[in-house]
């Protein structure tokens, strides 16, 4: 019963956050200076009528929140025919609008790019999680030794490395041996089967290494401190006194109890997967969501930005919710909060 309550509370909170994000997302792009029509129209001598037509096409001729004039005229329904109403209506239909630049459906654009980002981030994440946890565990077990110091220093050093800087250095080092950018050699298609995926794999190496180096350090540091904390507990001493093997103590007692912060970390990592690779995607010209956002900023393609922000927010909120729910499974104490 209590657990049901907990789940309900957390879900309600996530939904409330989502609604706040939706409104914020709308307001954010309306308070920006400049006329969006100026951003859509590039041709220097377009007639005013044609400009108006485009304005109407994008719904930018409607008032932002509420049409007071129509309200006074007694047109109640028409009064709510505002940009905000259209935004909500379209969202409910899964319509994220049309890109200013390519006039393509934003939802389609995001879907096209999303799987590419997932391909890129998944490898880096998995390597980082496995390697980070293992190394962190070793460091904690051998705490105070030179090995621990070395791991700690490496963790801090690589954590502090700016992603784009590390990426560029790796890129210059590997120049000529590995492709400096892109996802696939132009012309190869998924239909080409193995040749295509081998080529994608080759393009994946540098970005994956970059992501792995940066993310591993986070896991090392959190794992190390988490396990160290647990190892100081009395029950570990008891376990040692009972004569349990190092492996069993680490596996059954230390690791399990140190998993809580790790679950949050992992959930957040995957939550940020969608947008978290902006820097890596930008350095390695990877055609994912991150680069889509980077380009949308440069071209002031507001609908695309709005759509990707929304996707980002939703994935973080969902990942957080999942972490919260997992907590209640992993740790019975949580529901009492």
């Amino acid at each position: 019963m209590e657990r049901g309550n907990y789940i309900l509370r957390k879900t309600a909170f996530a939904v409330a956050t989502l609604i706040a994000v939706l409104i914020f997302n709308f307001v954010l792009f309306r308070i920006l200076p400049g006329d969006p029509v100026k951003l859509i129209i590039h041709s220097p001598r377009m007639t005013r009528e044609a400009q108006e037509r485009i304005r109407a096409n994008f719904g930018l001729d409607r008032p932002v929140w509420f049409d007071g004039e129509r309200w006074r005229e007694g047109n109640v329904l028409g009064a709510f025919d505002s940009q905000f109403a259209a935004y909500v209506r379209n969202l409910l239909r899964g319509d994220l609008g049309i890109s200013f630049a390519s006039r393509k459906d934003v939802a389609d654009l995001l879907a096209e790019r999303a799987w590419r980002t997932v391909v890129l981030v998944l490898g880096g994440d998995v390597i980082a999680i496995v390697l980070g946890m293992a190394v962190g565990l070793i460091a904690a077990w051998r705490r105070g030794t030179r090995l621990d110091l070395a791991i700690l220093l490496w963790g801090l050093f690589s954590w502090a490395l700016p992603t784009f800087f590390l990426g560029i250095i790796l890129l210059i080092l590997a120049r000529g041996r590995l492709p400096v950018g892109g996802m696939v050699t132009p012309g190869l298609k998924p239909e080409d089967g193995l040749a295509y995926w081998a080529d994608v794999g080759k393009h994946l190496i540098l970005p994956t290494i970059t992501m792995a180096i940066v993310y591993t350090s986070e896991y090392i540091l959190i794992m190390r401190s988490g396990v160290m904390e647990v190892l100081a507990e009395d029950y570990i001493l008891t376990a040692k006194a009972k004569g349990l093997s190092t492996l069993r103590i680490l596996r059954d007692h230390a690791l399990k109890n140190a998993m809580l912060p790790m679950v949050t970390m992992i959930a957040l990592t995957f939550g940020y997967t969608v947008g978290g690779a902006i820097q890596v995607e930008t350095v390695f010209s990877w055609p994912g969501i991150g680069r889509l956002m980077y380009e949308a900023v440069q071209k002031r393609d507001y609908p695309v930005l709005q759509g990707s922000f929304l996707l980002l927010a939703v994935s973080v909120i969902v990942a957080n919710l999942l972490a919260d729910l997992l907590y209640s499974v992993l740790d019975p104490r949580v529901k009492a909060d």
Binding site: P33, G34, V37, K38, I41, S43, P44, R45, M46, T47, R48, A50, N57, A101, R103, L109, R113, G123, I127, L131, R146, L147, A150, I151, W154, S158, I168, L170, R175, G176, R177, L178, P179, V180, G181, G182, M183, V184, T185, P186, G187, A198, D199, G201, K202, L204, I205, T208, I209, A212, I213, T282, V283, F284, S285, P287, R291, L292, E295, R300
Partner: protein
Amino acid sequence: MRKNLWKLLVTMAILTTFIPGLAGCATPTPEVIEKVVTQIIKETVKETIIVEGTPQVIEKEVTKVVEKEVTKVVEKVVTATPEPKPVEPVTLRVGMTYIWDTANPTFGWYNYGLRYLLYDTLVEEAGISNFVPGLAESWTVSDDGLVWTFKIREGVTFHDGTSCTAEDVAWSLNWTIENEIETFSFYLINFQEIIALDPTTLQVTLSEPVGNMEYLLMYVWILPRSVWEGMSYDDIMEFEDFAAGTGTGPYKLIEWVEGEYLILEANENYFRGDPAIDRVVYQEYATEDVMVQALLAGEVDVIDTVPSTAIQTLEGVENVELAVMWSTEIDELIINSHENGTQPASLNDPAVRLAIAYATDKQQIVNVAYLGYAEPATVVVPASLGKWHNSDIVDIPFDPTEGCRILEEAGYVDSDGDGIREDDDGNPLEYRLYATEDATPARILEIISDGLAQIGISAPPTLMDEDSLIGLYPDFDFDLIYWGWGLDPDPDFAMLIFTCDQREEGGWNDSGYCDEKFDEMYIQQGTMVDQEARRELIWQMQEQLFEERPYIVLTYVQNVQAFRSDRFTDFGLYAGDILWKSAFLQAKPVQ
């Protein structure tokens, strides 16, 4: 002990870095294969290029010879290798930070250079303002300047095989006007009637004479009826099919993966003959710096921009050649000239404007901000526009002492000793000086601000977001703005931005300058068929702007591109873009 620690660190670094990388290193590099094949083709291709320059009649004969050579080469290949591989096409790979927004030419704004490889126009540009026949072989104009007759090339076909006769050209132009095609219909504003007299003769009747017919026509692509006929306006705007790339141009659109790459293939039926380069692959890189790395690695053959910070890096590199070209770009300091603008009254004083000109160190801007790849400017029409540029104007030199003298004489003195001059009413000469927040504008703004400080004018540099800056224009709520233009090859647009009408919302007049006499001259030049008379008037307009200074034009800018000289050679230089049709079609692979 210390050694151990380092060993560990290094081992860890290797572990995290290289384990996942091993698999990929084993794959063979396809480049080697490519090199072998391109060598074979190069010989034949070179011949085709020579064909291009010669007149048409000879062209046919030469083409036959070339064909023979082709078979010879193929035979050689057969004897040389027992198992002949299919001949791979000559491929030129281009690196860009953004390929384009859409294949649809009716609203696609990015990468006109690429679009010009797909479509043809009646008139083409071989150099800035140097017009040559395109789909139209020749043209004549009636004495009153109203009726233009074009002779259309025979036997031209669109990529989909449909013919492109004078009737089709007429259809395309009429369709462009009827549907108000956003990207180029406004060039046809004065076109009243467009009809085909016979399959090779097109007649255009204008509502009033135009002074720059060739220039207007070089922007209007001839699109196929087979693709666009019968579509509503909304259908046209939503058309995303690759068929949108169908034209009569030297290349066909084969593939485009958004955010990744685009592939073009030579149109063997192109009216100037099969292009020397068989395939063009555009590859997208997220940043210019990485693009430079791709060029160094030989992953691309041409990059369309070289960031100024990378120019020195590339200068000494073997097998990389820089292409430096004058562009139509200008940089200017805008002085708010609107009578209802929010600038202080002193800024409207010609003496103050002249003093500001004396305090502007253009050479320093060229050296520091452009590393020498620019030149100090005088008038709005850049020198690259040839005869249209008023070369009689002698620039105001950088001379702060003279600037001080002028201000002193005009009664602006520093009465309170704070280093800033005041006008008669005691208002200090303090101006708002803005630019967009990018590296180059930031450097230029510093130089301008320093110069103004030397003549007792306080204008601390303020950098702001581009949108915020554009947001200031409608109300003319600024004093000085550093800005730049990429101008048209015809001086019309450079003059248009100083006309009164353009001050309205949605217009292009960013200085607020408005003068009746200037407006009259603008309208007049647009209708002058006599090019020499038009030039004189344009020169006069530039002189007026130079004297009244709504702009202090700072620099004419050069564009720098780079290519692999071990793979390709003989690119033409055109207005800052070796990928522009006329420049690009000259390129050939290296033997």
